[in-house]
C-alpha cells in the first residue's frame, strides 16, 4: 500500500503594515524557512499588508530593523509566487510601485481563488 502524500503548499497572507508590529517580519521568516527546505511557498499581500511592498521605505529612519530589504532574497529561496490585492491598492491610492520585481496584481476574485489553491494558509 503506498501512502499518497497530497501536493501540499503554503500560503502566507500578509495583512499588516510593516513597522507597527512584527507581523510582517514573522511572515518573512517563515517564508524563508519553508523556502530553504524547498517547500512550495507563496506570499499574498492584502489590506495594510500591501504597504510592505511599497518602494522607497526606510525603517532605519525610525530605528526599526528594516526587514523589507530581505524581500530581494526571495529568488534564492525559490519564492516566485508573490500576489497583491488590487482592491487594497486602489483603496489606499497606491500605484503598483513595488520594491521587488515579480509581484502579480490580482483582482479580488482572482486573489481569493489563487489563495484557496493552497493547502495551508497562515495569516499575519
Amino acid at each position: 500500500m503506498t501512502l499518497h502524500q497530497p501536493n501540499k503548499s503554503l500560503a502566507l497572507l500578509n495583512s499588516k503594515a510593516p513597522y507597527a508590529n512584527n507581523a510582517g517580519k514573522d511572515a518573512l521568516d517563515i517564508a524563508l524557512v519553508f523556502g530553504s527546505f524547498e517547500q512550495a511557498t507563496a506570499l499574498f499581500f492584502q489590506g495594510d499588508g500591501v504597504y510592505q511592498l511599497m518602494q522607497g521605505q526606510d525603517g532605519d529612519i525610525i530605528s526599526v530593523k528594516d526587514y523589507l530589504k530581505t524581500f530581494s532574497a526571495f529568488e534564492f529561496y525559490d519564492i516566485e509566487d508573490v500576489y497583491v490585492c488590487q482592491q487594497s491598492l486602489i483603496e489606499r491610492g497606491l500605484a503598483s510601485d513595488f520594491h521587488i520585481e515579480q509581484v502579480q496584481v490580482l483582482n479580488q476574485h482572482d486573489f481569493a481563488s489563487k489563495l484557496t489553491t493552497h493547502s495551508t494558509i497562515l495569516r499575519f
Binding site: A17, A20, D48, I61, R92
Partner: protein, 95 residues
Amino acid sequence: MTTLHIVRQSAFTTSDFAQCLQTVKDSDCIVFTDDGCYNLTHPCIKQLSVQVELKAIIEHVNARAINLTNTKATTITMNELVALTFQTDRVITWQ
C-alpha cells in the same frame, strides 16, 4: 478650548481615526504618528468639515515613503509634538 488629537493607527485597519473625526472641533489639531500617517491618504480625511490643523511626524512619514504633496498636512518633529501638548488644553491619544 482646543484639543490635540494624536492618531497612531491606520483607518484602513481600525476605527480609531473615524471616532476621532466624530469628536474633533474647530481649531483643534490632529497629529499623525506611526501607522496613523497612512490616514493622510485615506478617503475619510475628506469628511473633515471643521477647521483643523493636520500635522505628521516627519520621521514616521519618511520611513513609510508617504507622499504629502496632495495633502493639507505639515510635518513636525517629536520635539515639536511635545511643545504642542503644552499649547492645547487637553490631549487625546487615539490608539
